[in-house]
């Protein structure tokens, strides 16, 4: 028998009002927005890779991962790329504008389980956004990891996000940086190739490596297969996925990936769990 009295009564679909306090134009189509609550209540405390449903009343909501430092919820931020109607409107917001916000939702990067391992972070393009929270969290306790490496691939030089962070990480002795560009460009003197072409240099000891990967599906598929082949355990290759979501809380059905709901079983999943479904077209 269902115990109705024990069920929650607050609708998880009810958002809270938040206000944009800072706007940072990362690229021509990517903006980092920093938010504070506009209802006088505490802000959203999130873990690395968790997401929120951010929206504009009258336009709709989209799932976006938080890109700020989880240890500092006062700087709650999302890094958003102009894609559809809602993200385009979000990217164009100014300080003082209102948004709707729900969250945090989903699973987190396994920061503690990765301790004692080489931490290999692999980002493709804007995939760096949900990994930024992992990097800043790891760097705060860098002595707990055998090494911290970032492999960051882009299609265009101009595509770079978190330019200040990248410069700081380059200068940080705890961080090993492996940047690459998909194809040659006169403004780029570094390595050319996909992220997988940097693994010889970045992957130190497959048996004691935990990888955290985010990028387009095709890139994550390639990295998952490549790292598996190189000897990293499937259960130690973590990726964060994106799918269409209308609720973020397991009730709308849209984000299904095989038996998984990306919103509640993910977005962070390991290759042992998610890998088999990557092999199925249009799953």
């Amino acid at each position: 028998m269902l115990d109705f009295a024990a069920l929650p009564t607050v609708d998880p679909m009810l958002p809270r009002p938040f206000r944009v306090v800072r706007v940072l134009r990362e690229t021509s189509d990517v903006t980092t927005l920093t938010f504070e609550p506009a209802d006088g209540l505490a802000t959203i405390a999130f873990g690395p890779a968790q997401m929120g449903m951010v929206g504009l009343p009258g336009l709709g909501e989209v799932p976006i991962s938080f890109s700020s430092d989880p240890a500092d919820p006062s700087q709650l931020a999302m890094t958003i790329r102009r894609a559809g109607a809602i993200t385009s409107a979000l990217v164009d917001l100014s300080a003082g504008d209102s948004v709707s916000m729900r969250g945090p939702y989903g699973t987190e990067w396994p920061m503690e389980a990765a301790e004692g391992h080489h931490l290999l972070i692999v980002a493709g393009g804007l995939g760096l956004a949900p990994l930024r929270s992992a990097i800043v969290t790891a760097l705060r306790r860098a002595d707990r990891y055998r090494s911290i490496s970032l492999v960051y691939g882009r299609r265009e030089v101009s595509e770079v996000v978190f330019a200040d962070d990248l410069a700081a990480w380059e200068a940080n002795p705890a961080m090993s940086m492996h940047l690459t560009l998909d194809r040659a460009d006169p403004d780029w003197s570094g390595p050319i190739g996909l992220v997988t072409s940097r693994m010889d240099a970045a992957l130190l000891d497959p048996a004691s490596t935990t990888a955290m990967v985010c990028g387009p599906d095709v890139m994550m598929h390639a990295v998952g297969a490549d790292l598996t082949q190189r000897g990293v355990a499937r259960g130690k290759i973590w990726l964060t996925m994106e799918r269409n979501m209308k609720c973020g809380v397991g009730l709308c059905g849209h984000c299904q990936f095989g038996p998984l709901f990306i919103c509640k079983d993910g977005p962070v999943l390991n290759w042992a769990t998610a890998g088999p479904f990557y092999l199925i077209a249009e799953v």
Partner: protein, 370 residues
């Protein structure tokens, strides 16, 4: 549980008692050529003598003079529209001096009593309970409607050719989740129902009606009628085998044969009593600058459903049909521990081209084994 005999006139009393207890009473009615669920005042509103004949893509109504009140099998309307409305307001905004405020849209709901839900409908409700109330987040609107529901199930003695609840273990007799269960018996000389309660309040209501107890002969008639009904079902589906068939070869060429038939019209998902996918739609008001959000049923057959980053994840027809059937019969077990199918057969009847999931599973099994 003690069983009681309920005469057709007692059924009018049951409707009256439930109304007095504050329920809006819904029951089967003949409307626009189908047996559906509507508000009823008395047994005069019930589809007396109406039979329904179904086959893949076909639904016919036939009038008889036999006087049975629940002689049809199953119309297109499950409990889903009552407990999980096809469209509802979720929230609205209000602009105040302090800024924008979001308010939950919590409608005034009169508790609903349904008379004449089928065992498959009760089973489907249990499936939706798991999906919508299993947590960690729940559908609070469904929870309210569900909490307040008084459910009178009428067991099935005349299943349709599209029914396969017996093989799914969900009928033709209801086993749980009901307040009162009735079995209608129409003999040459007698027309009556055998009633049993499935809850304390169900027993209270039966007690209030002052019914005579059923004698062993009547109970035997019920047992035989339901056994005959179970044996008469032409279609079968083995839920455990379907689970493994659909896992086995998601890229088997057989799926491509679906393209030649499936119109991706989403009818199956609309009539399915367990399909719970929804989308949200923004609502704006020109008048007072308020905005809101509506939620409406959605379907994995639409291209928008999986739209991401400029294109749908599931573009081909076969990928969308495969998603529906695999979720319904296989990954549902992984997610919620049961099949997502209760064997009501509605998706077979209301598919405009008559795709029959029991046949698709059988063909797929044969192809994989071949």
């Amino acid at each position: 549980m003690k069983r009681a005999i309920l005469a057709p006139t007692d059924l009018d009393n049951l409707i009256a008692v439930l109304s007095e207890r504050g329920f809006e009473v819904l029951g089967p009615t003949l409307d626009s050529g189908v047996v559906t669920l509507s508000s009823i005042d008395s047994t005069a509103d019930l589809p007396e003598g109406i039979r329904d004949e179904m086959s893949p893509g076909r639904y016919y109504i036939k009038a008889t003079s036999d006087g049975e009140l629940f002689g049809y099998a199953v119309g297109p309307t499950s409990l889903k529209p009552t407990l999980f409305p096809s469209r509802r307001q979720v929230w609205t905004t209000e602009n105040t001096d302090q800024g924008i405020i979001f308010r939950s849209s919590v409608p005034d709901l009169r508790p609903v009593a349904v008379i004449g839900a089928r065992p498959c409908d009760a089973a489907a409700m249990a499936v939706q309970d798991e999906a919508l109330l299993g947590g960690p987040y729940i559908d609070t609107d469904y929870a309210r409607r569900r909490r307040d529901l008084f459910l009178v199930v009428v067991n099935c003695t005349r299943p349709a050719s599209t029914c396969f609840c017996a093989s799914m273990g969900t009928g033709p007799a209801v086993s749980e989740g009901f307040d009162i269960a009735l079995t209608e018996l129409k003999l040459d000389t007698r027309h009556f129902f055998v009633a049993e309660s499935g809850s304390e309040r169900g027993q209270e209501v039966l007690d209030q009606l002052g019914l005579d107890p059923a004698d062993p002969d009547d109970e035997e008639l019920v047992r035989v009628a339901l056994e005959v009904a179970a044996d008469s079902m032409e279609r079968t589906l083995d839920p455990v085998d379907a689970y493994s068939v659909l896992r086995a070869q998601p890229e088997h060429p057989y799926w491509e044969t679906i393209v030649e038939r499936c119109l991706t019209c989403a009818n199956c998902t609309m009539v399915c009593p367990t399909c719970f996918c929804v989308t949200t739609e923004p609502v704006t008001s020109l008048g007072d600058e308020s905005a809101g959000e509506e939620r409406r049923w959605d379907s994995c057959f639409s291209l928008d459903y999986s739209f991401m980053g400029g294109s749908p994840v599931r573009e081909t027809v076969e990928s969308r049909y495969r998603q529906w059937l695999t979720h319904k019969l296989s990954t549902w077990f992984d997610q919620f521990g049961t099949s997502g199918c209760v064997g009501c057969g509605r998706c077979i009847t209301w598919c405009p081209v008559g795709i029959d999931l029991t046949e698709e599973v059988r063909h797929l099994r044969e192809q994989i084994d071949a």
